[in-house]
């Protein structure tokens, strides 16, 4: 992972954004970086797991099928049916892919040996937010027609005309800029900050243990805190996968309903 940078005085160099720049594994090929491998790995892991879990589709499920079904039915019911309503089934495959893809890539951040959250590279959240952006606008346009849909966004019904001076820019910005940006940046920032925090405590502990006796005694606390933060990080990783999918479902539901 990170090559330790000790100054001439052996001073501690805190982890920074440069720790997220992982060089290509093979030469200068930009497609051979760790985050890219992790994303590809996540697709393989998710596909294999769910193909195996759903292969038999038994009425009385095996443990594997039950595990797969639990995740699937969570997305289907809590994120699909309860938020989008009667048309939810069309969007379940997308929401399901979104949730499992984000969750797996997030959890890679604390999986031993992998230990890097691919979503801390902003490109991936950008791509996901783009999918959500295109889908929820497309759904709205298909449902209401382009004119009605855009008019509904720009000129919210039931508001005095003068208020549109303020409201129209805000609403347009919300729908076309703020939503995709917040969606991707929220996920990215959480993963980025979480990983940075873990680096601080683990590397800090590592640095302390090389120090004088007094510092050696403090090192275990740094490691213990790092381990504690790992558990906390797991919670955040699950939560962020949930929030991203939940907001996507909410945006789709908003585009489907006539007045948002």
């Amino acid at each position: 992972m990170r090559s330790f940078q000790y100054g001439s005085g052996g001073g501690f160099v805190p982890p920074s954004t440069s720790d997220f720049n992982l060089p290509p594994v093979i030469g200068h090929n930009p497609y051979t970086t760790k985050p890219i491998f992790l994303v590809v790995l996540s697709v393989v892991v998710i596909s294999v797991f769910f193909l195996a879990a759903s292969r038999k589709a038994l009425v009385v499920p095996s443990k594997l099928q039950f595990a797969g079904e639990s995740i699937y039915s969570f997305v289907r019911k809590d994120l699909g049916e309860e938020i989008i309503g009667h048309e939810f089934m069309r969007f379940v495959p997308f929401l399901f892919t979104l949730f499992t893809f984000i969750l797996t890539n997030n959890v890679f951040g604390i999986v031993p040996l992998l230990q890097f959250p691919s979503m801390s590279h902003v490109s991936f959240p950008y791509v996901l937010a783009l999918f959500t952006f295109v889908i929820f606008h497309w759904v709205g346009i298909r449902k209401q027609g382009l004119g009605t849909y855009l008019k509904g966004i720009a000129f919210m019904p039931g508001v005095p005309k003068l208020v549109y001076i303020l409201l129209t820019p805000i609403e347009v910005a919300t729908f076309f800029l703020v939503r995709p940006l917040t969606l991707s940046l929220r996920l990215f920032a959480n993963m980025f900050a979480g990983h940075l925090l873990l680096l601080v405590f683990i590397m800090g502990g590592d640095h302390l243990i090389r120090g004088v006796v007094g510092l050696k005694l403090i090192a275990p606390f740094s490691f213990a805190f790092g381990i504690g933060m790992t558990f906390f990080e797991f919670l955040v990783q699950c939560l962020q996968a949930y929030i991203f999918t939940l907001l996507t479902a909410l945006y789709i539901a908003g585009a489907l309903s006539d007045e948002h």
Binding site: Y31, V59, E69, S73, P93, F101, S120, H121, V122, V127
Partner: protein, 175 residues
Amino acid sequence: MVRIIAAEATTNPLVPHVAELIVGFVAFSLLFLVLRSRVVPMFEKAFAARTEAIQGGMEKAERAQQEAQEALVQYTAALNEARGEAQKIREESRVQGAAILEDLRGKAQEEASRIIAAAHSSIEAERQQAITSLRNEVGALATQLASKIVGEALDDQVRQSRIVDRFLEDLEKSK
């Protein structure tokens, strides 16, 4: 200067990498296709089968319960009927038993009185016979005795019996 800006751009975490954008897009699309075509239909199939199984089971249980209810009603009715029947039979047999007892008692009474009557008449006949026999024997003895004493031949039958009768009458009178 240009170099510094370029270096900063690569370390700016908000700037996306083209390679990552492409890989992210392809990877996500691929995963979506796999999950949509293979996984979701299979899970939906399992859910549908399960719903059907549960509904079928519930209907079956309901039917079984109804059948059990009907059987219970039938059984209760049959039981009540049997109880009534038993009560009736018991009553009948009690009446019948009483009648039979009464009948037997009457018969026994009759038999007893018949036997008593027969005994009475038999005794009476015996007595009469004894009296007759006695009278003849006593008569003969007495005649013998008298003829012996009186020395008079009393072989005439008519006279003889007259004398005996008179004798007996006297005997009875003297009693």
